[in-house]
């Protein structure tokens, strides 16, 4: 029993890193542009399918696939921000409700475009991130999943360093704090919005390409990740980077442990239920400071 707990907790930590990464991207977009991107999970789908296409094209290295996915999804994110979200921006702010509804339509379009092009089958990539497993006594951990965790953390750390130490990163945070003041200090809110959305999407795309060697890709995969990304943002607290990482691990572990007590299939309920509790009890999130009003 104890071993089970440790094993599932370890599994949870590994998926949790991914949830954290996904939530971080969404949190960035949400925090800076004040728009909830319902199509965030579809960015992950697009990343995963970029990896599939690379595999079909004969590129077996998953790392090359990740780089390609980041580039493709960054471009798509940029186009969405430029041509769909920019027209909704009035005086440095995106119309909250129109933005929400638009991204809803976008998620429907993207998921079904993938379905139309690639068909409903579950697909895999040929390459693996690493072969074999690490054996710690009775505990067996796939090396691949460990690499996914480490890569997620590295990407998260890179984003945090970028936001903290570079001038552009500071500008992004300034726009998140107060777009008018940022604009008045000479920051182009327009450009920051484009950059933010591209970066946030790129992280989701990277996540998509990262997980495909360990699991499989299918057109509707994005929805569940969208839900988990929202849960991460809400539970961790809007604008809180540490909150997102903490909430990612929390969700991953709870979801993984729930397998022990809940019948199989129910584990996807963990995200929405924890999100709901957080919204009701502590709308600002565990580590957030702003109240849950927007």
């Amino acid at each position: 029993m104890l071993l089970d707990l440790v094993y599932f907790a370890a599994l949870g930590v590994m998926t949790g890193g991914l949830y954290g990464l996904l939530g971080l991207g969404l949190n960035l977009i949400f925090g800076v542009m004040r728009v909830i991107n319902v199509s965030h999970g579809e960015m992950l789908t697009l990343g995963a399918y970029t990896a599939i296409v690379m595999g079909l094209g004969g590129v077996t290295s998953p790392w090359a696939a990740i780089v390609a996915a980041v580039m493709v999804v960054t471009l798509i994110g940029f186009l969405i921000a430029r041509y769909l979200l920019q027209p909704l921006t009035v005086e440095s702010r995106i119309d909250e409700q129109r933005g929400m509804v638009l991204s809803l339509g976008l998620s429907l379009v993207l998921a079904n475009l993938v379905l139309a092009v690639f068909g409903p089958e579950y697909q895999r990539v040929p390459g693996k991130l690493a072969e074999g497993s690490i054996v710690l006594g009775d505990l067996i951990i796939e090396k691949q999943r460990l690499i996914i965790l480490i890569a997620s953390l590295v990407l998260a750390a890179a984003l945090m360093a970028f936001l903290r130490f570079t001038l552009t990163g500071k500008a992004i945070r300034a726009v998140g704090e107060n777009p008018e003041a940022a604009q008045a200090s000479g920051i182009s809110v327009r450009k920051i919005h484009l950059l933010t959305f591209s970066i946030g999407s790129a992280l989701a795309g990277a996540a998509g390409a990262l997980i495909t060697p360990a699991t499989y890709a299918f057109p509707a995969m994005g929805l569940n990740y969208t839900l988990y990304a929202f849960s991460v943002v809400i539970i961790g607290g809007l604008g809180s980077v540490w909150g997102a990482i903490f909430a990612g691990f929390l969700l991953g572990i709870v979801e993984s442990l729930s397998v022990i007590w809940l019948p199989s299939g129910y584990n996807t309920i963990v995200g929405p239920v924890l999100m709901l509790f957080t919204l009701i009890i502590r709308p600002q999130g565990l580590l957030g400071v702003k109240p849950g009003r927007a």
Binding site: L108, V109, P263, Y266, M275, P283, G292, A294
Partner: protein, 317 residues
């Protein structure tokens, strides 16, 4: 607030009424009648969404939750108590209303995106339960043990008139609540400026729960009617694509008008059924693309376009 109708409007309304009343006799095949029946259910659903968003300013990302809960409650209730189908719709309405209270009360403090996400979380939780609670809902196979109003084959005409009557009455009642009653005015006051509304003596807490309850009631009722018409309830009735469809219908029709979303629901559903011939994938893409286009270029929908172009349609509230 009395309104006069122009001769042209009277003629149009009359034409719609005549076509609706005689459809079973003029339709070339049963498929068209069936499509219209389902489309009418969507009209109620879209109108109930509009009541929440267009009038009270509360966005629901989980309307499928109300619809699916209404459908499942009605189906399960009539099956296990061995009652005829006619008991289903009231049960569905009550279930939807209760869910409205259940969502409305705990999320009172929330605004905007937070409130939208809480409705999404609610309906997704229900979706997971309906998918996995096999012994009760029969999971993804769908539940089909409950009675239907009439048989699908041979008695479609009777079904059609039942659907036409209930759905028209529902949309009319929603319209009246939203645009003619005190309640509707209170909701609008709350939407436009909740601080001022509070200063005017409106109990915001009470009104928010009330509008959630009403919207849930009609959405649950729509679900129950659907369940007892089609005879099959599946977890996809609780899924996000249904919510997206309803939001698309309302946005395209014109939020804040009730009639716009209801009409758009009928037209859009009929169109997507025709597009079905080209494959479900493409009709989903078409709906999504249409939704995006309307949000970008015509955010107040077709009804809004009519208003701006000076037709004598009722002005947007």
């Amino acid at each position: 607030m009395t309104q006069t109708f122009s001769a042209r409007q009277v003629a149009m309304i009359l034409a719609v009424v005549i076509v609706a009343a005689t459809l079973p006799f003029i339709a070339p095949n049963d498929f068209i009648i069936h499509t219209v029946c389902i489309a009418l259910v969507y009209a109620v659903l879209a109108a109930s969404w509009d009541l929440l968003y267009g009038f009270a300013g509360l966005i629901s990302f989980g309307h499928a939750g109300f619809f699916g809960l209404g459908a499942y409650s009605a189906a399960l209730f009539t099956t296990y108590l061995g009652l005829p189908a006619w008991f289903g719709p009231p049960v569905g309405a009550v279930a939807g209303a209760l869910l409205g209270v259940a969502i409305g009360v705990p999320t009172l403090r929330l605004r905007g995106v937070y409130q939208a996400l809480s409705t999404l979380a609610f309906s997704e939780s229900l979706h997971v339960v309906a998918t996995n609670w096999y012994s009760v809902t029969r999971g993804t196979l769908g539940f089909n043990q409950h009675p239907t109003f009439f048989r699908m084959i041979g008695e479609l005409h009777k079904s059609y008139y039942v659907m036409l009557a209930t759905c028209s009455v529902c949309v009319a009642v929603i319209w009246w609540i939203a645009r003619r009653s005190r309640m509707g005015m209170t909701f609008r006051a709350m939407r436009d400026d909740d601080i001022r509304a509070r200063a005017l003596g409106i109990n915001i807490v009470q009104q928010r729960v009330l509008v959630f309850t009403l919207s849930g009631l009609f959405a649950g009722l729509a679900g129950a009617i659907y369940a007892h018409y089609v005879g099959l309830v599946s977890p996809s009735e609780l899924g996000p694509s249904l919510t997206i469809l309803v939001i698309a219908m309302s946005t395209i029709g014109g939020v804040g008008t009730i009639i716009g979303p209801a009409v758009a629901a009928v037209v859009l559903y009929a169109l997507t059924e025709l597009l079905h011939l080209a494959g479900t994938v493409y009709n989903q893409i078409a709906i999504g693309a249409l939704l995006i286009a309307f949000v970008l270029f015509l955010p107040d929908g077709i009804a809004g376009w009519f208003v701006r172009h000076g037709r004598r349609t009722p002005a947007k509230s």
